[in-house]
Symmetry: C2
Subunit: 230 residues, 2 copies
Amino acid sequence: MTALHEPGALTAPAEDCLKAVYDIERARQGAAVTTNDLAHRLGVAPASVTGMVKRLADQGLVTHEPYHGVRLTDRGRRAALRTLRRHRVIETYLVQALGYPWDRVHDEAERLEHSASDELVDRMAAAIGEPTVDPHGAPIPTREGGIVEDAAVRPLTALAVGDRAMIARVTDEDGDRLRYLGSLRITPGTRIEVVEQEPFGGAIVVRAGGKLRRLAPALAAQVLVSPARD
Amino acid sequence: MTALHEPGALTAPAEDCLKAVYDIERARQGAAVTTNDLAHRLGVAPASVTGMVKRLADQGLVTHEPYHGVRLTDRGRRAALRTLRRHRVIETYLVQALGYPWDRVHDEAERLEHSASDELVDRMAAAIGEPTVDPHGAPIPTREGGIVEDAAVRPLTALAVGDRAMIARVTDEDGDRLRYLGSLRITPGTRIEVVEQEPFGGAIVVRAGGKLRRLAPALAAQVLVSPARD
DNA sequence: TAATGTATTTAGTGTGTCCTAAATTCTCTT
DNA sequence: AAGAGAATTTAGGACACACTAAATACATTA
């Protein structure tokens, strides 16, 4: 790909990288993001990340303290949120308007987010009633770049036996795991109650939709819940 | 962009080039396509086309007789039709499902066609009732790669005064010209009658939707009509 | 048939993205 | 405080795609 003429236009790998920095920065609660994390997330060699980050730093989208990690600048954060909005609107549209199952929208959106115009994304959002969360429960940034992360949300693993809650979000992108969770009705909006917590890193047993479900801790950690208000 | 791993995966510029070869080959009635034609169509320097064509030839998608033009192989034609189907289904979907005006779908589809999966395109087609022509009247290739070009279709310029016909297709991609034609109701499906043909390359005057419209020959040449059956 | 002008290809560059292998820096433990 | 091991960056390639400038082939006309 040659130099892009439109000012501010980013390449697809650059957008992906910014999105990844945003995501990991948030997961790390604002700490700097290591190139290794990024390499892992992006499926790319660590040395490649160094190069990408250098280009993004030249454009003023991230700051890079060599050997100490990457941070988004304000401009970088805006760009990341723009891409995130595209991604999540597209995912939601695919599910609501085109009947995609929730476990197969990620990869499609991953490609489309780089070529869809703002107009298209806005039309999609309008067509399905301006959704505020995507099919996995993740908040959709607004046109203006705002985003509301629900502070009350915790991982399912943080609940105690007897706690009731509602599934708010599933932070997993792997199709197989999502399909599995879907088959168990472990999806945003479902009410659950923790029935049992097996000791020493064992499974968590919840009642969901009237059935008992055993969730491996690795899976349960990806399931975020909000306190049941009843 | 690095070497693509999926077998048969083409880069966006390669897909664009194949589509252009297909289109020009058809317009030239099967004659070989010159690199200059392609350069013009793709908005790229002629030397760049030579390089692109070389890569496509290495992949067995075109044959290239140096200094004498390019031809699609069967595999190349299949690839071109796959892209063309994506493009035209997307254009039609944007108009029918998302309310786009017909003069603004081309550029959007031009980008999306390279990142939309077959599944997405098929779902779009299904959602709007498996259309057979796009908003400009161009036939949409089938999933299997077939395409039916209406043989009875002729340019508006080929009609004589007094002839009646129906607008079948507008072979123009420029947004401004399409918007203009749209404002004149010169769109697929409209019945017209040739009222006057100004001599020596002058305008063609047609009655369309009850109104008289003067069309410059360059514009009229892009308007294809099929004989009115009444 | 030779000359001329156009079309086309070759040669040489630059950019973005990726890689592997080798150096470097950091951190943690002893 | 030093050294081992891990993380990171640098160095050196490769490939796709674009460019300009120069060389070459073609076709047409005088």
